[in-house]
């Protein structure tokens, strides 16, 4: 007399009904096709290698301004930073002059700025023992800065002893500039 199958026996019985081909397939090793991912990674690595910079970024561009674009390829050096916006002139992170109509109406060096730059030059000379001729400044100017303000900053630098003034720009390739 055959007894009814218990619940325990049911899956086993079902298993026996599977075809042999399916059962054999369970032993096969499933492999992931990585070729397309390798392709993608290769493209990514080539792109990143192109934009790789071994020197790192030595200049922090202020959020308060938009630098102009230029095709100049001169490497930037670590110098005293002067940030010029339409609101203020900032030397080494410290606001020195707040720009108003009186600043924009004259064309001579700005005395406060000259004093600040002279102090910095003197301090640097004492600390590092270098001459004024070797001192340079980097001027970060907003694209909307007026020529008169830029010229006043540059002539202030010249009067304080910074003979060379560098304009900081964003480098673009040949036809990229509009």
């Amino acid at each position: 007399m055959s007894s009814a199958p218990t619940k325990r026996h049911v899956p086993l019985m079902l298993g026996y009904k599977k075809s042999k081909a399916v059962v054999r397939g369970k032993d096969k090793k499933v492999t992931l096709n990585l070729t397309s991912m390798i392709d993608m990674f290769t493209i990514l690595v080539v792109f990143l290698l192109k934009s790789y910079s071994a020197e790192g970024q030595i200049v922090t561009v202020s959020d308060a301004l938009t630098l102009p674009e230029s095709r100049s390829d001169q490497k930037i050096e670590l110098n005293l930073e002067i940030i010029v916006t339409n609101d203020a002139i900032i030397v080494d992170g410290e606001p020195i002059v707040f720009v108003d109509e009186s600043v924009l109406s004259e064309g001579n060096p700005i005395p406060v700025l000259v004093n600040r730059l002279s102090d910095h030059l003197e301090y640097t000379r004492q600390m590092r023992g270098i001459t004024g001729e070797e001192m340079k400044v980097n001027i970060q100017g907003d694209i909307a800065t007026r020529a008169i303000l830029l010229q006043r900053v540059m002539s202030s630098c010249a009067q304080a002893g910074y003979a060379t003034q560098n304009l900081t720009v964003i480098k673009v390739e040949g036809d990229e500039e509009q």
């Binding site: 910079s53 970024q57 003034q165 500039e177």
Partner: protein
């Protein structure tokens, strides 16, 4: 070895599978490293020649000026027009026009025409003064010319070998006088 009735061998060729996992491991290390050290914004500089203050209009020309200084051209930018002042005379490059930049209407100039004019001037210099290297150029503007216009003009100048730019700002009436008398060589 057993052969089929056709005589052809039924041996199955097994192509060896390439193990890509070590390559994947390498990529997983190298990509974060490159991402960290990549610089997507490249900063460069334009080295300016010593600048002069606002011209008083006195029109003094130093006797000690070198030959290069005397041949030094000037790009004159006013609110209405751009000029090129050279030792051969002052000529108009083109009128200023309004252009949209970043959603803002700003004054712009014809830089292609400036490039052509500077190219022509460079050729004339090479014929007339072949032994004198001229690299300096002055960007002479009125008070309210935008900084990006100045940088664009400097870029065009450096394309033609005038790679030592200086900035000079003058009052409008002084500029007009400089244009009228010919701005090439020395101060206006």
């Amino acid at each position: 070895m057993a052969q089929a009735a056709t005589g052809r061998s039924h041996r199955v060729r097994h192509v060896p599978e390439l193990d890509l996992l070590p390559v994947m491991n390498l990529f997983c290390v190298i990509i974060p490293f490159l991402l960290l050290s990549a610089s997507f914004l490249e900063i460069s500089i334009i080295e300016m020649s010593p600048t002069e203050g606002i011209s008083s209009g006195a029109g003094t020309t130093s006797l000690a000026q070198s030959e290069e200084q005397q041949l030094q051209p000037k790009v004159i930018m006013t609110d209405e027009e751009m000029f090129l002042g050279t030792v051969f005379g002052t000529r108009s490059i083109g009128r200023a026009f309004m252009e949209s930049r970043d959603g803002q209407m700003v004054i712009s100039y014809d830089y292609e025409a400036l490039s052509e004019a500077l190219g022509g001037f460079r050729d004339e210099l090479n014929v007339a003064f072949p032994t004198i290297p001229v690299h300096k150029i002055t960007i002479l503007t009125v008070d309210d010319v935008r900084y990006d216009n100045i940088v664009r003009a400097i870029d065009v100048c450096s394309e033609h070998g005038f790679d030592q730019p200086g900035l000079q700002v003058a009052a409008y009436n002084v500029l007009q006088r400089a244009i009228a008398t010919g701005a090439g060589g020395g101060n206006p």
